[in-house]
């Protein structure tokens, strides 16, 4: 990003937060996405675990911690996987938090390794997608959705984000072209990413004229549900170095659930409460961030995350969009592998997409185009729209090992 | 002698020399039944409910349950039916002598008068005029008042109600007294819904046919049909009510044997 570069090691602010100095993330893997699969989620978890072992050179018994985010393992939870996949663990976590899975899994795994509860934690987000998976999952997503959303016909969060998009546009003067610019840039990024399900360029005309889903949301404002998996390993820095694995450092993380319950509509997320700590603990400022992986279930949420994470003031998102370019070679690289809007949303794997891409960018193991001179990246988690707003918000600032 | 005449009768029936005439209306839910003022107890109309019809309720058979009053459709009145006959011996359907249930019939044609005047009352003069042509009414005979009322297939016309009540023909009080005291008849039969005229309440005594007939241990028949197929004399009618314990009457299959 074009700005004066500050000294990278600004003194970290102290306080009641974790210092992740000695635990790292490594071995970013992706199980290729497919629109529909006849396999169960267990298959995708198994493939991800296999790839993690391949990528890291570890053997299965070396992995003594497992964190799984999935919606389609039912009736199993993570425990069923232990016998299914033949792993014996000291630490186990099942995180059904959708788009926040990755950030939350990262935080739990870092704490487990730091605390000595596990040595190598595999963090995996995986979901299958059968022809009727999405429709079936809607009916049983949450009590509030069942009681107060689905009876109204929207079927999923489309209506809630249509409201938010309309409200945001009206309140702050954002236009559909603004959102379109983000989607088009992300599609450009995706064209270089081999696992993206969308392979064709997106024009502004196509974006604007696309099929109406829930006015003002149109087809390219929505993610495409699919099957797939993402994963990474968390271990001590010493272990990573002993294995000769390229790794990224987690400089800070944050997590918040049910922030701002008094807001009549979700115009801001929990990041507003946590950003000072996030940057303070990381020892960086927003200007130091070289790329941002937002959780882009809808373009309006990317804009809100950009505002809430301090890149511009609330309400100035549209103006920010107009000022910047978002491709990997642009002034504000955003969702550098395409984001779930262009890659696809493989259930909980979408909550890992940004983290996995961040690790790739910061270890030089890119599958998509590399952001030039990337030292610090920001991955954002968001999700679990159990009623009218995403309850979970989270973020992680990651840095290159030598930054 | 009796055995021979019975055997002759059987042979005549088989050969058609003696014809059987059906004097009963069909029992169906549409058939009107007598209606009393709303505060009083009512006679049930005929109702029928299927039990099964070659279906899952009974694969190889069809049958029904039905319900009705003792005085629904073509029916027989026993003496116990009226207050005047309540204490007589053998006055119920199960105790009355069965020999009373088959007898000769005298059919008095009032069809012309009844069509002109629905409230027509059969008088003593009328009976005597009939006897002048057809002979004296024998003892223990049935007297049937033919009015062709049974041809009124529309229930509205059959009941013939207006704001003052029902208007159907029947016997005058004196005529009933005459038939009992002077002719010793076994009973009176009508094609209308009651043996008494529709406006019988206003005669003196009210409902004289019921009052006198049952008071004298005689019987009544109502809703008869096909009386126009009977000769004025000579028909033998069969009108047996069900043997209901302490019954006041019952629907019957009334039949007449007539020369073929």
């Amino acid at each position: 990003m074009v700005r004066a570069r500050k000294a990278a090691s600004k003194p970290r602010s102290s306080g009641s937060f974790r210092d992740y100095r000695d635990v790292v993330v490594t071995a970013p893997v992706t199980v290729p996405y497919v629109r529909h699969s006849i396999r169960g989620a267990h298959w995708f978890v198994a493939r991800a675990l296999s790839r993690l072992l391949e990528e890291s050179g570890l053997e299965k018994p070396d992995v003594d911690g497992l964190s799984v985010g999935s919606f389609t393992l039912a009736p199993d939870t993570a425990i069923g996987l232990t016998q299914h996949l033949g792993v014996t663990l000291r630490w186990l976590d099942h995180i059904p938090l959708g788009g926040a899975c990755g950030i939350v899994a990262l935080r739990r795994a870092l704490a487990a390794v730091q605390g000595g509860d596990a040595e190598v934690v595999a963090c995996i987000g995986a979901d299958t997608n059968h022809v009727d998976s999405f429709r079936q999952s809607l009916g049983s997503f949450s009590v509030f959705a069942r009681d107060a959303v689905f009876p109204y016909g929207s079927g999923g969060p489309n209506a809630s984000f249509a409201f938010l998009t309309a409200y945001y546009m009206r309140t702050y003067g954002a236009t559909r072209e603004d959102f379109g610019k983000l989607c088009i840039a992300q599609r450009d990024n995706a064209l270089a990413y081999p696992h993206a399900l969308f392979k064709k360029q997106l024009s502004m005309e196509q974006y604007l004229e696309a099929r109406l889903i829930s006015d003002p949301i149109r087809l390219f404002d929505c993610v495409m549900p699919c099957a797939g998996a993402e994963g990474f390993l968390v271990m001590s820095r010493r272990r990573a170095e002993a294995l000769g694995l390229p790794y990224a450092i987690v400089r800070s993380t944050c997590e918040r659930h049910n922030a701002f319950p008094e807001d009549p509509i979700q115009i801001r997320g929990g990041w507003v409460l946590d950003r000072d700590h996030l940057y303070g603990a990381a020892g960086v400022e927003p200007g130091d961030i070289d790329f941002v992986e937002t959780y882009d279930d809808y373009p309006v949420m990317s804009v809100i995350q950009i505002e809430d994470l301090g890149f511009c003031a609330k309400g100035e998102g549209a103006e920010f969009i107009r000022r910047h370019s978002f491709t990997t070679d642009g002034s504000f690289p955003l969702n550098t592998s395409g984001g779930q809007l262009s890659v696809g949303q493989a259930g909980c794997a979408a909550g890992f997409l940004g983290l996995v891409e961040s690790i790739r960018q910061l270890t030089g193991r890119n599958l998509a185009r590399a952001v030039p001179h990337a030292r610090f990246g920001l991955a954002v988690g968001f999700g679990m729209i159990t009623y009218d707003r995403g309850l979970c918000s989270g973020a992680a600032v990651l840095g290159r090992a030598d930054a | 002698m009796t055995l021979n005449s019975l055997m002759s009768l059987a042979a005549d029936l088989a050969s058609g020399k003696v014809r059987v005439v059906d004097l009963s209306q069909t029992l169906s839910p549409e058939f009107p039944q007598i209606v009393l003022p709303p505060e009083l107890g009512q006679c049930w109309p005929f109702r029928i409910e299927e039990i099964s019809r070659y279906d899952e309720r009974g694969p190889a058979w069809y049958w029904n349950n039905f319900s009705c009053g003792e005085h629904t459709g073509t029916h027989f009145d026993a003496p116990i039916h009226w207050v005047s006959g309540r204490d007589l011996p053998h006055n119920a359907t199960d105790t009355l002598p069965v020999r009373d249930l088959i007898g000769s019939a005298c059919v008095i044609d009032c069809s012309r008068e009844a069509s002109a005047d629905p409230d027509f009352l059969l008088t003593v003069e009328h009976v005597k005029r009939w006897e002048a042509v057809h002979g004296r009414i024998p003892a223990r005979a049935w007297v049937l008042m033919r009015t062709d009322w049974s041809k009124r297939s529309d229930p509205v016309a059959f009941q013939n109600y207006d704001e003052t009540g029902q208007h159907t023909p029947g016997p005058a009080a004196e005529a009933v007294r005459f038939l009992i005291d002077e002719r010793d008849v076994i009973g009176f039969g009508s094609e209308a819904i009651g043996t008494d005229a529709g406006q019988g309440y206003h005669l003196r005594p009210p409902y004289p046919c019921h009052t006198y007939m049952h008071g004298a241990g005689r019987y009544g028949l109502q809703c008869l049909a096909n009386l126009d197929q009977l000769p004025p004399t000579g028909a033998v009618i069969v009108c047996a009510p069900l043997k209901i314990k302490n019954g006041s009457g019952s629907p019957i299959r009334a039949l007449a044997l007539v020369p073929g």
Partner: protein, 417 residues
């Protein structure tokens, strides 16, 4: 601006009748409190007894202070429309065939933000609206945002008509048109826009007062119907059942006897034969075909109305056997409601207090006039409620019953002694 509903064209008989689909039906137990209130035409939300916080969506504990003493209280529904959307694509089969469908996000003045169906005529956001509750096609409570100003033809709004059982342009069977209640109902339905009203009457040989006037109404067709005669019911259903959109069962046998005041069971039996078995016969013959026509175009089969009595809720000893027969009918109507649900046909029970008729001659006022009862039937259809308690006596007895059924029983036994 709502365009007035156009008179539906005659149905093309060679086309397949669409199967009735239902909007999502599942609700938690707490959420059913909203349905229970909507069944009476009320919008209620849970309110915390300790801190007065209003809750939505419905829940098990106060979102502010965790107290579990949450009581359902009627709400004004006033609120601010934050945003609207028109759904063009839905995964739900019911809505899929009804898009585009308007929705609104409203912040109630009472606090919570609610998602609601948006009735046409609401000014674009930001604007004021008011939230009401209705039963949707699956019979569950849902919220609707209504405009604050009177809007012409509001009842014709597609989304609102889907929630109501409006008689406009529909064909109705009134099972007994001989009584004053029956005749008033026929007239009220015609005034409300019914296309055709079949008027049932038993014992055709007994002309009843008002017969000629009824026959003279162009929208009325008299049809012999005796609900005590299975075959009569079957024949009428065979003839017109496939066209009946609304069935209003006014057939009633009403006498004023307790147990000791009348010897023999014949009167009570007659009451049961009309009031309970009559309903059963009608339900068996008309129910299935009405249920299959729940989505049969704009004039679809939509409602079954039972004229019960407040005595169905609690026995009125001076009319004890009549009360029992109405209670039996009430219980059966709940069975009918469950069976008709799949077709999206609403079973509506009307529980009037004593009517101003001959058998209630000795009952002191207030008594409900047949015209008032007829009006309440039409209103229940237009509002799409499930239970209506017209008149002062019905309202008072309902309040007493809900507070304590046993206390009401004692209060009424004083009348029967």
């Amino acid at each position: 601006m709502t365009a007035p509903l156009a008179r539906p064209r005659r149905k093309n008989p060679v086309l397949r009748t669409p199967q009735p689909l239902l909007p999502p039906w599942a609700r938690s137990r707490a959420a059913l409190g909203l349905t229970a209130a909507a069944a009476l035409g009320r919008f209620e939300l849970q309110v915390c007894e300790r801190c007065a916080a209003v809750q939505y969506p419905p829940r098990e504990a106060c979102h502010r202070c965790l107290c579990d003493a949450l009581v359902w209280r009627e709400q004004s529904g006033a609120g601010a429309l934050l945003a609207t959307t028109i759904v063009h694509h839905s995964h739900d089969l019911y809505f899929r065939e009804r898009v585009p469908w308007r929705l609104g996000l409203v912040q109630l003045d009472a606090g919570p933000t609610v998602l609601a169906h948006l009735v046409a005529g609401c000014a674009p956001a930001p604007s004021r609206v008011w939230i009401g509750a209705r039963l949707d096609k699956s019979g569950q409570g849902v919220l609707l945002a209504f405009p604050t100003e009177e809007v012409p033809n509001m009842a014709d709004d597609r989304e609102l008509r889907e929630m109501s059982c409006d008689p406009k342009y529909r064909k109705v069977l009134v099972t007994d048109g001989k009584t004053r209640v029956g005749q008033a109902t026929v007239r009220a339905l015609i005034d409300a826009g019914a296309d055709l009203v079949w008027v049932g009457y038993a014992e055709p040989w007994k002309k009843f007062p008002g017969f000629a006037e009824l026959e003279a109404l162009p929208q009325a067709t008299l049809v012999p119907l005796d609900v005590t005669d299975s075959r009569s019911v079957k024949e009428v259903a065979a003839e017109i059942g496939g066209k009946v959109d609304i069935l209003v069962n006014t057939a009633e046998m009403h006498r004023a006897h307790g147990i000791a005041s009348r010897s023999g069971v014949d009167v009570a039996r007659s009451e049961m034969d009309v009031n309970y078995f009559g309903l059963l016969r009608l339900a068996q013959e008309f129910g299935p075909v009405m249920r299959s026509r729940g989505a049969d175009g704009p004039a679809s089969a939509t409602a079954w109305v039972n004229v019960l009595s407040i005595y169905a809720l609690t026995n009125y000893p001076p009319q004890g056997t009549f009360s029992a027969s109405k209670a039996a009918a009430f219980s059966l109507s709940q069975c009918l409601r469950a069976e008709m649900r799949a077709g999206g046909v609403r079973v509506i029970n009307v529980f009037p207090g004593p009517l101003d008729d001959e058998w209630n001659q000795s009952v002191p006022p207030p008594k409900l006039s047949p015209e008032a009862l007829a009006k309440s039937i039409v209103k229940a259809l237009q509002d799409g409620v499930e239970d209506a308690y017209p008149g002062d006596v019905a309202q008072e007895w309902l309040a007493r019953f809900r507070e304590s059924p046993k206390t009401l029983e004692r209060e009424l036994s004083a009348a029967g002694g």
